[in-house]
Amino acid sequence: MGAFRTFSMHPFVRRACQLAAGLIFVYAALPKIADLPAFAGSVHNFHLEPVVPVAAVNLLAMTIPWIELTAGLALILGIKTRAGAFVYVGLMTVFTLGVVAAMARGLSFDCGCFGKATSTTIGAKKLAENLLMLAVGFVAALERR
């Protein structure tokens, strides 16, 4: 544990994770921004009605990609980096919970995570991918001393 802590606290490792997380978010945000209706459809596919009313799907669809982009740029540029990392971890947690909820109800569809062109179907692989991206975010969010 000590070795891992030292490793993940190393400035270069943390910076690498910040860059990786930032690039992931920018890469994920752009195709969604380019096709908002498609992303709204993807959000609706998750059927989060009990938590998020159907009518609110569009609000999420128009704001989430831009929050991703802003947080991603903050991480890449090193401005408000830690805040960007916190937003990244927060959103990624919500996305992962969405995937888990969809899997638990046996839903299987293209999640639209990186836009419509790159299809990723909800499933164990997607979940593993999200957990890995979440881990990157945690390292990126570590406080620099």
Binding site: P37, N58, T63, K80, A83, R144
Partner: protein, 221 residues
């Protein structure tokens, strides 16, 4: 911020303010971009409220009984209607329209009365999008069972499915049935040209007193 490329020292109130700033900036930019997009072309942007997508209706796509009103501009010569045993006098013929279905990029919706006409004439292939257990309990006679959940993991079943040129009518458990919509889109994506979705689905069919069949799919279909 001693080294700008390795910032990450924020904590406490500064950190929370930063998070709030990112969320606010992102939300504002998103709303602004959407507004700009909508000014250019409303359908490329999003309305404030999300509406569950509605499919166009087959009746709207092929105006029924336009023959009396105006000479039919349809380039494909209207196929003679098959004899309808439930309507020997042809009273329903005017409203029955033809069984021509246009090639579609999105599935079309079809209402139960038209579904029954297609069924009676044998003019369409029925596809049941529910899972096999539900199919065995009861289905529209002659329907092929293509459970949407299986098709997702085994797309070859879509490729193999051959309607032999007939229109495909997809149905499922009714209500806000997503299965038939999803399967409808999957069929179109798999290159099927004439795809109709019967939104009322099994509940509407079985409560209308129309013929039903039970048991497994006949082999070799």
């Amino acid at each position: 911020m001693d080294r700008w490329w390795s910032d990450g020292t924020e904590r406490g109130p500064v950190l929370w303010k930063g998070i709030a700033a990112i969320l606010a900036t992102g939300s504002l930019l998103g709303v602004a971009q959407n507004a700009i997009v909508r000014q250019g072309s409303p359908k490329d942007g999003l309305a404030w409220r999300y509406e569950v997508p509605k499919l166009d209706s087959l009746d709207a796509a092929t105006p029924v009984s336009s023959a009396a009103a105006a000479p039919s501009p349809s380039p494909s010569s209207a196929a003679p209607l098959p004899p309808d045993m439930n309507d020997p006098l042809g009273l329903g013929a005017a409203s029955a329209g033809s069984f021509d279905v246009p090639d579609v990029a999105r599935p079309l919706q079809i209402q139960i009365s038209r579904v029954k006409q297609f069924f009676d004439a044998g003019a369409a292939v029925f596809v049941d999008a529910r899972d096999t257990a539900e199919y065995v309990e009861g289905h529209i006679p002659g329907a092929v069972n293509l459970p949407y959940d299986d098709v997702v993991t085994d797309p070859e079943r879509l490729e193999k499915f051959d309607p032999k040129g007939k229109p495909i009518i997809v149905y499922c458990g009714g209500g806000t049935c997503e299965l038939s919509m999803n399967l409808g889109f999957a069929l179109v994506n798999a290159g099927k040209k004439k795809v109709l979705v019967f939104m009322g689905g099994w509940p509407e069919w079985s409560t209308s007193g129309f013929p039903v069949a039970k048991g497994k799919e006949p082999q070799g279909s």
